[in-house]
């Protein structure tokens, strides 16, 4: 059990490191460096930066050092919580990101809760009544759900809301609460706006999970112990729910690890279409403006967030699955 936790933790640390290297690469890929873009943005606003100032700035930021030293320096700053400046905004990156990261988490978690709440009962139903009419309906809807990219679904939802109901279904807050400080009323407002983005984000994952749940449970239901239970006269709901569902649930939990990166990924694009105040629109703006410090930081934070989430799901899996808890290989 301890070995499992240590192994997972090591992998998580390794992943975070890989993500930090990739984010650093993204920051450094475009031609020129921070100072050249800084000069460009300063001269665009009318104030010039002299050669000497530029050199001093480079020296201060360590941009004239080899790339590995720069990386170490950047990491050092980040570990102290200093993510650099967002050029376009002229404010520290952490200020600009602010609430948006929390809201990204809220939406992703809501989408996963939705996925679970829907996939579990439907998966059980489809496995208990395979090849029934409803099973075919769910399979069909699931296929469609897998085939429609998130942004397209968001577009369609927006279109239907706008064209048929005359309402703008985008956003996470009513206008009154958009810039208000956090309060109970604001949280309630958020809850009311959450279902649509959660559904849009969760559909594809739900379709996948239903298929996994269905096939796992189907395999499990054919096992002799189920027949024994039935032969001994257990009520049908207990025959199904008490043991086979529990066993079939294990792979279900472990898929959270795969679901999370997927949902976080999707939230970026869906947020853009539904204009949700998450990091998605910010990332796109930063990339288009070549504000690489902001963009790199967002990629880094999203990656770390996902890794933490995956790690939590690993611990959850350990709690659900005694084979892992008891240390069987």
């Amino acid at each position: 059990m301890l070995a499992y936790v240590v192994r997972r933790l090591l992998l998580a640390v390794l992943t975070v490191w890989a993500i930090s290297v990739l984010s650093f690469m993204i920051i450094h890929l475009p031609p020129g460096d921070y100072v050249t873009s800084y000069i460009a943005s300063m001269s665009a606003s009318g104030s010039a930066v002299s050669e000497g100032e530029a050199e001093a700035l480079r020296e201060q930021l360590g941009l004239n050092k080899p790339i590995t030293v720069q990386y170490a320096k950047w990491m050092g700053l980040i570990l102290q919580g200093n993510f650099g400046m967002a050029m376009e905004w002229g404010r520290p990156v952490t200020d600009v990101i602010g609430d948006r990261l929390t809201l990204t988490i809220v939406i992703s978690v809501a989408a996963i809760v939705f996925t679970w709440a829907l996939a579990l009962p439907i998966g059980i139903y489809s496995a208990v009544y395979p090849y029934s009419f409803l099973d075919y309906v769910f399979t069909f809807v699931g296929f469609i759900g897998l085939a429609v990219p998130g942004f397209l679904l968001a577009l369609i939802v927006m279109y239907v809301g706008f064209a048929w109901f005359g309402a703008n279904v985008g956003g996470l807050f009513s206008p009154d609460f958009a810039d208000a400080p956090w309060s109970l009323a604001r949280a309630w407002d958020l809850t009311k706006h959450l279902p649509i983005p959660a559904i849009v984000l969760g559909v594809a994952g739900t379709a996948q999970l239903i298929r996994i749940m269905r096939s796992n449970l189907l395999d499990e239901l054919r096992k002799p112990y189920v027949i024994t239970a039935r032969a001994r006269g257990l009520p049908e709901h207990r025959v199904v729910l008490k043991y086979p569902v529990r066993v079939a649930l294990n792979p279900f939990v472990s898929t959270i690890g795969y679901l999370l990166p997927y949902v976080v990924s999707g939230s970026i694009i869906v947020s853009l279409v539904l204009s949700l105040p998450t990091v998605g629109p910010l990332l796109l703006k930063a990339l288009i403006a070549q504000d690489m410090f902001l963009a790199g930081t967002i990629v880094l934070l999203l990656g770390v967030l996902t890794v933490v989430g995956t790690f939590v799901s690993d611990l959850l899996l350990m709690w659900v699955d005694p084979r892992i808890r008891l240390g069987r290989q």
Partner: protein, 400 residues
């Protein structure tokens, strides 16, 4: 899932019993069993590919998906035949026209025609409105002569699926309406199909090479190399891909030509797409390594390369084909999403994502909903690949 499907196929059951022995199952001589016995014999002597084909054929959705995909690729290859105007030809006078109805019957006989359209500006809303001039009938012809183009890139041709008689198609035919710049959506969709359907193939080819090499090495050699490659895969899979792609795609210099951008995007997408393929290949390698025929080959002194390519690879090619087919839709969705955001292919390149960029603005979409038409192409293509891949995957194991 695979297993319960297999049980539903009678051929598979016969097979499972007959295959290891290599003889047909209990061929009873009774006359009414004659046909069944012959069918069983046919199964027993069939090659693996034949068995797979028979099984694939029974999967109706898979066959349907394959046919639809074939149609898509016909469009991709002959895009210039299906389009009737230059996809870049724009005219502000024809911006945002709705799809134009075709009248199929003219005075009781089959003679399709369209009415000429006249654009005016609504004095109240300032929106351009187009009124059909019912006095002018423009006949629509199939396989008529139109703008010249090079079929397959080198055969000079000028026939198009649709043309109009006595008028320029760019001024009178708008099957799916026009976009903001007045470009014909039907013709653009044909060219977009070419780009989007090929980008999936090129990307999947790169992923395939990476996946087979790394997965094969990982599965065959095992040990430390296996561990390292597996950890790399795990790490890559736990990174949210879209922000990463966005970051990499945004770094593609603005000065690059559309072709260069096309290849850069293809490579970026395939860099992460190979992991699933590698996983499949590794799994097959590990399970095959234990098989008797591999050990037999080793014992008679076959070289490692011969064992891999002559003995092991043929027995899991079908699995790789299935995994590859199932990887294409994800790539198509990625390209479409990136281009939709403006970070993938850029105009003048035309792809489904680029077309859907026009549909980004919800107000524009409500006024001109036909801008969403390309999304149907995306959904149908992805469904087609999913169905075909599922069918191949189920058929891949005829001995299951």
């Amino acid at each position: 899932m695979t297993r319960d499907r297999a049980a539903a196929h009678p051929i598979a059951n016969v097979d499972a019993a007959a295959a290891p022995l290599g003889v047909p199952l209990a061929p009873e001589p009774a006359p009414e069993r004659e046909v069944g016995a012959r069918a069983e014999e046919r199964v027993a002597v069939a090659t693996q590919w034949q068995l797979m084909w028979w099984r694939f054929r029974k999967h109706r959705l898979a066959v349907g998906g394959t046919l639809v995909l074939a149609a898509f690729y016909v469009v991709a290859i002959f895009a210039d035949f299906f389009a009737y105007v230059d996809p870049q030809e724009s005219d502000a006078q024809r911006s945002l026209m709705g799809p134009q109805p075709i009248h199929w019957m003219d005075e009781g006989s089959f003679r399709p025609y369209v009415h000429a359209l006249k654009g005016t500006r609504d004095p109240v809303t300032f929106k351009r409105v187009y009124v059909a001039d019912t006095s002018v009938k423009i006949p629509v012809r199939f396989f008529g002569h139109g703008e010249p183009y090079a079929l397959l890139g080198f055969i000079p041709a000028d026939r198009h699926l649709f043309t109009v008689e006595g008028a320029k198609p760019s001024e009178s035919l708008f099957l799916m309406g026009t976009d903001m710049q007045g470009r014909d959506l039907w013709s653009r969709l044909m060219y977009a199909t070419r780009t989007s359907m090929t980008i999936g193939l090129v990307s999947v080819a790169i992923s395939l090479v990476l996946g087979v090499v790394l997965g094969g090495v990982s599965g065959y050699l095992g040990g430390l190399i296996d561990t390292v490659i597996q950890r790399i895969i795990e790490i890559l899979r736990s990174i949210p891909t879209i922000p990463l792609w966005m970051g990499l795609a945004a770094a593609v210099p603005a000065s690059w030509s559309p072709q260069q951008v096309y290849f850069a995007i293809t490579i970026i997408i395939s860099l992460i797409g190979w992991t699933e393929l590698a996983r499949v290949v590794r799994g097959r390698f590990i399970s095959l390594k234990e098989e008797d025929f591999v050990m037999a080959a080793e014992l008679i002194g076959c070289s490692r390369t011969r064992i891999i390519f002559r003995h092991m690879v043929p027995s899991f090619v079908s699995h790789i084909i299935a995994a590859t087919t199932l990887a294409v839709p994800a790539i198509i969705i990625s390209e479409t999403s990136l281009s939709f955001l403006g970070l993938g292919l850029r105009p003048p390149a035309i792809s489904w994502g680029v077309l859907l960029q026009d549909a980004q603005n919800i107000q524009a979409l409500v006024i001109s909903p036909w801008l969403l038409i390309p999304s149907f192409a995306v959904i149908v293509a992805v469904l087609g690949f999913n169905f075909m891949g599922d069918g191949i995957r189920d058929a891949a194991d005829p001995y299951l």
